[in-house]
Structure formats: C-alpha cells, structure tokens
C-alpha cells in the first residue's frame, strides 16, 4: 500500500514536471500548418523547425556563445573556488567566517538591482556585448555557489589520508595526486554541473548586456526570434530551440552522474 502510494506520487510529480517539456517537444516536431491544432501527438512529424533555426545565422551563433560562456564561467568559478574552499577548510586565518558570509550575501543580492549600473559600466568600458562582459557577472553568483558546495565537500574528506600518504612515501604532490584528488573529484564535478546549469540558463544578464550575435546566448536569442511574417508567432522555432538548448544539460548530467558517487569516502576512517 505504502509502495503504491509512493509510486503513484512519483509518477504524478514526474508527469507534472515533464508535461510541459513533452508539449514543447511535440510542438517542435509539428509542421507549421498544424501548430494550432490542439492535439498532444503531432499528426505528421517534421523537422522543419530544426532546419529553420540552424539555417538562420542567429541560433548557431547563440549556441556557440552559450557553450563558450557557460563553460568558461564554470571553469573559472570552480578553479578559483577550489583554492578558496581548500583554504577555508584546511587553513586557519583571520576573516575566514567573513569570506563565507560575504560569498553568501553576494549570492543573496538580487541581480536585477545591478543590471542598470552594470549596463552603463559595460558601455563605457567596452565590455558590453562581449563574452567577458557576461562571464564576469556570472561569476558573482557562480563563485559563491561553488565556494559553498566545495567547502562542504572538502570538509568531508578525511585529511588524515594526506598525512598517511606522506608517511607512506608520497611527496606532497603525489599525496594530492593519488589520494586527495580522487576523493575530491566527485565534489568538484557536482559543483561544476550546478554552476554550469546556472550559467547556461541565465536570461537576465544575457538579455540586458548583449545586443548582437557577438555574445548573445540561447535564452536571450530565443526571445528575439521572429516569425516569417509580422502576423506569425515563431512558436515552432522557439520550441525547437528550447529542445536543442536542453540537450547539453542532459548530456552533462548523464556523463558526470557516474562520477558523482556518493559515499565514496565511507570506510576511510574509524570502524
């Protein structure tokens, strides 16, 4: 009875979450003429919307921008946060609490409040509509997120292992390479995925701080899609673009989930 309840509950939640996605998938596969037919399953399948978005110059450029900017922002945030989190967990220094508190308060600050000033600032400094112009503001929320998750992960690493490896004959570098890195990797990958998703999905900064194909990312580009005439909504193209834009996220999670083995450190210490 209880199992049945949980199964039904799970199905309802999954259905609720996936229905809009399925609807968008269905829309993206319908030919233009059938878009307004109110049926869930398309009568004829067509890839014309996918062809349309990829022949247009706007979408491939946006996809490239999205990938590049999100990957760079992730790489920068995670590598900087690794150093910060390591210091926070392993070293004693003045102002340790303030770094964590500061990171949290920056993350809590509403981004919409800085958009206006940032817009003017970027115009004068020439960062407007460039990759760097998006990566920098992305760091304001990806870095705190990464520092917090990584320090939580690092705190769980049994650091006695580092000392054990040194006594076992490892140099400081070998101890890091053979013992600490394999244990820290799952945490780093988890953090990277989280950060990447945040950067990839951002619409606010992307729409305000870009104006051309130079740096406009997919979420912003979709908003600028136009129909073939002024009387037509680009529903099909938007649906197709939305499907395409979720694919990298799905791939990311599938590739890395195997490396996020929880409980990897279980059994290292104590009995």
């Amino acid at each position: 009875m209880e199992r049945l309840f949980w199964r039904a509950g799970t199905l309802i939640v999954i259905g609720y979450a996936l229905l809009p996605v399925a609807w968008i998938l269905s829309l993206s596969l319908k030919p233009a003429a059938e878009l307004n037919e109110q049926r869930f399953f398309p009568r004829t399948l067509s890839l014309e919307h996918y062809r349309a978005i990829f022949t247009d110059s706007q979408f491939p450029a946006a996809l490239w921008n999205s990938l590049g900017i999100a990957l760079l922002a992730t790489l920068l945030a995670v590598s900087l946060a690794m150093f910060a989190a390591y210091a926070i967990v392993r070293l004693e220094f003045a102002g340790k609490r303030w770094i964590l508190a500061g990171a949290l308060s920056i993350a809590m600050f509403p981004p919409i409040a800085v958009i206006g000033p940032l817009f003017n600032l970027w115009r004068t400094t020439g960062l407007f509509d460039t990759w760097a112009g998006l990566i920098l503001p992305y760091m304001t929320f990806t870095l705190p997120l990464a520092i917090w998750t990584l320090s939580a992960f690092f705190r769980d690493i049994p650091w006695d292992l580092d000392r054990a490896a040194r006594v076992d004959g490892a140099s400081a570098w070998q101890a890091l390479r053979y013992v600490i890195v394999p244990l820290a990797a799952p945490g780093v990958f988890t953090t990277a995925i989280l950060v990447f998703i945040f950067a990839w999905n951002d619409f606010l900064f992307a729409s305000a701080l870009t104006s051309t194909n130079n740096a406009r990312t997919v979420p912003a580009a979709i908003a600028f899609f136009t129909g073939s005439s002024r009387f037509e909504l680009p529903t099909g193209s938007i649906a197709a673009a939305s499907v395409v834009v979720t694919i990298p996220i799905i791939i990311m999670v599938l590739v890395f989930q195997r490396r996020i083995v929880t409980g990897l450190t279980a059994g290292a210490v104590k009995g």
Binding site: D160, A164, V167, D168, G169, V179, L264
Partner: protein, 390 residues
C-alpha cells in the same frame, strides 16, 4: 635496525603552547617503546615529530646517529598506523597495501610478493579485493597494520591503534600486535592513553604529562617504583589509594593505623610533625581474620565496607578512611586531575580474595602491607623513597 635518539626535544605551537618540553631519551633497536599519558599530554605531538608530520621547535632527533629533523616524512623510512586507520577509501585492500611499495618504485613481482606476505601475516588473504568500506573495524585495523609492515620500515609508529575497537577485539589485536612486533623485531613506538596497553605491550614505557616526560622505565619499574604521585596514580587499575599521612618523629600516622615509617624512606626527621601523602595499591591490603597475628610489616585495622565489586577472579572492597585535608585535596587535584569535592572522604579500594565473606555494610578486619607503602611529598608529589635514587 634502528635506534632513535631524542635529544632535548621541544615543540612550541604558533599560539605559544608548549606541547612537548625537553624530551630526552633513547629508543633502542628492536624495542617496543610506549608513550603513555592522558589526552593532551603531548604524546601524539612527539610521535608526529618523529615521523616528520610536525616540525621540531628545539632539539634533535637522530635515527642511527643521523639527525633527521629536516628530513621529509617520505624519506624517513618509518611507517605509521593512525588512530583513524587512514585507509584510502578509493583503493581496494590490495591497492592500499601496495601503495607505499608503488611509491617506492619496487618491481611489480616484488610488490605482489610483499603484499601476499603481509596479507598472510595479518590473515587478510580473503579480503584483498574489497574496499575499506566493506570491512569491519577489526579488519580495517589489520589493513592499516599491513600497510605499515609491507614496507619493511626501520621504525613502526602506532598512534592509539586500538582505541576504535570494542573491548574484545582490542584485547585480541593487542596480543596480535605484540606477536607481530616480536616476529619482525622492528623498533616500535606506540602511543596510547590506556595504561593497560602500556603495561602489557611495552618493553619500556615513558609516561608523559603536560608535555613533560615523568618517568621512563620497564612496566615493572613504573608499577613498583613510581617516581611521583602522577605516575603512581596513572599506572595501575584500580588506581593506587592515596591517604593523608603525618610523620611525627618515629611514627607514621595514617587515618586508620600508626606504623613505623619504611626504613628506605629518606625523610627529614625534624622534630615537628610533617604532612605527607601515603599511597598503597589495592592488592596490598589483605583480609585479616579476627585473632590472626599481625605479620611483622603489616598493620591491622577495621574498615566499614561501603561497596563491594565482585568480578569472579577478584573482589574489590570500597571503604572510607577519614577526611582529606584541603591541602591534600588541592595536591591530588593538581597531580591527578581527580576533581575531588571539597572535604571528600578518601575512598579506598582493597583487592581481596574473591572468597572473602563480605557484603556492603560489613565491618571487616584488614591488614595493610607496610613494606609496600609509598610516601609522597605533599607539595611536590615526589616519591620520597626515590628522590635520591634517581
């Protein structure tokens, strides 16, 4: 083959605390040497300095005559077993055992041979492909030992290796460690807070307190001739009983009896009475049947028994003898950290034959072996019989 010479070694942490002060002793080749003391006494810090995980503030450590103060831990050829075992969780037991050998760049066949040899000694044969998380506490402990012995190191260092095991396993592993050490004949330094482990395992034992070595000697020496109150109270279970004593001329007054002071006690026999602390171990009381003749060096008295603990092989009778003076409470507090309430009676324990007919509430005739009495200075805690003999 390794002799460790520790020469006026001190460790001062950045915050100014002196964790180890002026340790000076030699650990002989092949010896099982124990560092024992209450938590925070600096024994682990001393061990970490030996292995190189902690810098030396002052003094020097010599391994076979060579100063190794600045040698990197990886080059000291010492193996350590950590209290937490510190097994590498992402490696199987085999990989854990092979890790130090791989780092030493041994040929693959030699690594396999040594891993199998260590696994044989520690009975780990069936577990080699398991990950540490699939092992029981005792098995993890064996793997940690195995990782230390595969290297054939010059010195074994063990940091409270048994404190995470349950009582039964602890006794079993204790004898196993002793067996392995005897078999390999490797110089071993073993840190523990458990005086039983220290007495049963050690060839020699060093007792530490607040960073300072109190006494070094064989377990027998420490038990029979404790240099001061701290050592006397730390070694032995149940602990030595401490009683207020007054030396007045040729008489030594205890709360329950009056004796002639032991001949070897070098006491200042001035005219005025002198306050001392007398120590007597529980086993140096015996049951005295009414009418028995007192032995030459014994003193009989009657005690009101408050509690009785019977454990099959032995019987512990608890009784109170008089009140402790404020001075003595302060002195015992300081020396032993006993935290006695003010004006406490001195709770005394006698270890008697388990067949002794006694129950709580009885009044029992007891006899005290005066030859086994220790006398300590109430101010300094020094054993008065030994002050000159040191």
């Amino acid at each position: 083959m390794a002799e460790i010479r520790i020469n006026r070694l001190s460790k001062r942490f950045a915050d100014g605390t002196l964790a180890v002060s002026n340790a000076d002793f030699t650990i002989h080749d092949g010896e099982f040497f124990i560092l024992v003391g209450p938590s925070g006494c600096g024994k682990s810090t001393l061990l970490n300095m030996l292995v190189g995980l902690e810098d030396v503030s002052e003094g020097e450590i010599r391994l076979d005559g060579r100063i190794i103060n600045a040698v990197d831990p990886k080059d000291r050829n010492m193996a350590m077993v950590f209290q937490s075992y510190a097994l590498y969780p992402h490696m199987s037991v085999r990989e854990n055992l092979a890790f130090p050998l791989k780092l030493a760049k041994l040929p693959r066949a030699e690594i396999a041979r040594r891993v199998n040899e260590a696994a044989g000694i520690l009975e780990l044969d069936g577990l080699l492909e398991r990950k540490p998380r699939a092992l029981s506490g005792g098995q993890r402990q064996r793997v940690a030992m195995g990782r230390a012995i595969v290297r054939h190191p010059a010195v074994f260092l063990l940091d409270e290796p048994l404190s995470n095991l349950d009582a039964r396993l602890r006794t079993q592993m204790r004898s196993e460690i002793a067996r392995i050490q005897k078999r390999l004949g490797t110089t071993t330094v073993y840190v523990t807070h458990d005086q039983t482990e220290a007495l049963t395992l050690g060839d020699r034992v060093a007792i530490m307190r607040e960073g300072a070595i109190q006494q070094i000697g064989t377990p027998r020496d420490l038990y029979r001739q404790p240099r001061n109150l701290f050592v006397a109270g730390f070694i032995g279970s149940p602990a030595m009983n401490f009683l207020p004593a007054t030396l007045d001329g040729d008489r030594l007054r205890l709360p329950m009896v009056e004796l002639k002071p032991p001949a070897d006690a070098r006491l200042a026999r001035s005219g005025k009475p002198m306050s001392l602390i007398a120590g007597i171990r529980p086993e140096h009381f015996t049951f005295a049947r009414a009418g028995d003749m007192p032995q030459t060096s014994s003193a009989n008295f009657r005690a009101h028994i408050e509690a009785v603990e019977w454990s099959g092989a032995e019987l512990y009778a608890h009784f109170n003898v008089g009140r402790l003076s404020a001075d003595m409470v302060r002195s015992l507090d300081h020396e032993l950290g006993l935290d006695l309430p003010k004006g406490a009676g001195s709770r005394t324990i006698a270890r008697l034959d388990p067949d002794t007919p006694v129950a709580a509430g009885d009044t029992l005739g007891l006899s005290l072996d005066a030859g086994r009495l220790h006398l300590f200075d109430a101010e300094t805690g020094a054993n008065l019989a030994l002050t000159d003999a040191k």
